[in-house]
Symmetry: C2
């Protein structure tokens, strides 16, 4: 019996299509037939390769979240950087990523709201942040009186200011206030601005 040899190209094409459609339309609105036709591949092969729509979704989800945290982990645990430097790197990395995949935030947020625990599992119940060097630095800042509020606000504000514009992007574009390039220009400028604003907020 030979080792199962599958055509990577087909499986990968389907995964790529699934990623695209799931991300764009969400789980419920995505039909298996959408994925198949997006990949231009026979309907049955979706089940052949991934057993079920749900299994395929979970696979995509896990990979997406993995990719989301792989880069952030070393940044928030780097003991050689200051709080502001960490924020600079986080902001830079995520804005770059989101320019490439602007639909990602809704995908994640939907997953969060729909009650799945994938994200929590992958962040070790949020302890990835709570136990990070970054968190320790923030608590130190609080103790020396630089910040008079819960350190969680720092993370909230940073992620908010990075991610939210992408959630509003379709609205902004369709309103005509900015075009696609104008939007990218603004968010790229925010790469520099957000760390400065955050430094101000923390009295640094």
């Amino acid at each position: 019996m030979t080792k199962t040899k599958i055509d990577i190209s087909t499986e990968e094409k389907l995964k790529e299509a699934a990623r695209a459609v799931f991300t764009r339309k969400g789980y419920a609105a995505t039909k298996v037939r959408d994925i198949a036709s997006e990949a231009d591949i026979n309907l049955s092969l979706v089940n052949y390769y991934f057993r079920s729509k749900e299994k395929l979704f979970e696979l995509i989800m896990a990979e997406t979240i993995q990719k989301l945290f792989d880069k952030i982990k070393p940044i928030i645990n780097d003991e050689s950087t200051t709080v502001t430097e960490k924020i600079e790197r986080i902001v830079d990395h995520y804005i770059s990523m989101l320019i490439e995949t602007p639909d990602l935030p809704l995908f994640i947020v939907n997953e969060v709201m729909s009650g799945s625990n994938k994200l929590l599992q992958m962040t070790n119940n949020g302890k990835l942040f709570l136990n990070s060097h970054f968190a320790k630095q923030l608590m130190a800042l609080q103790e020396e009186g630089k910040i008079q509020f819960h350190p969680v606000n720092v993370m909230m504000n940073t992620i908010s200011m990075v991610v939210f514009p992408f959630l509003m992007r379709p609205l902004i574009l369709r309103s005509g206030a900015l075009d696609s390039e104008g939007f990218i220009k603004i968010v790229k400028e925010r790469k520099k601005l957000i760390p400065v604003w955050m430094a101000g907020i923390m009295n640094l």
Copy 2:
């Protein structure tokens, strides 16, 4: 011929159920049967009162968006208040509203991403903001050099910092970092903090 007299109670119960389920699960994941059983009312009555699932959704959507902008309009056009006072009022109003209906942001954001133009229609293509007294004040601030960035960043940051925590709420709660009351405590504190932070960002 008498004026159609319908049992308000039934229609209203269905609308309330629809609002709840649509908001919680989104359009595609909501089944007409979910709405009927949430309202504990016969399935057929959904079509009897609202013609179709889509019509019902549009009705809920329009009402929601209406409610969303009714309050903000006078605030951003009040010529007697400063930029910071306006931000204080916006932040206070929306955080209060979101504490009552924490699922609202996802509902809106989904609607935005799914390509509907309801929101744009209701904001007169975003001109509600662009032509507001608030926008004029921000442009003045830019001209006198207080802010060296596109004024749209002010609105982006304010809304981001107000709304985003509610999008992350399920994750935060399930992570155990905060409980339901702890979350409310934090966002209530942010009512005071966000205007201060924004003032800092604008060098006010």
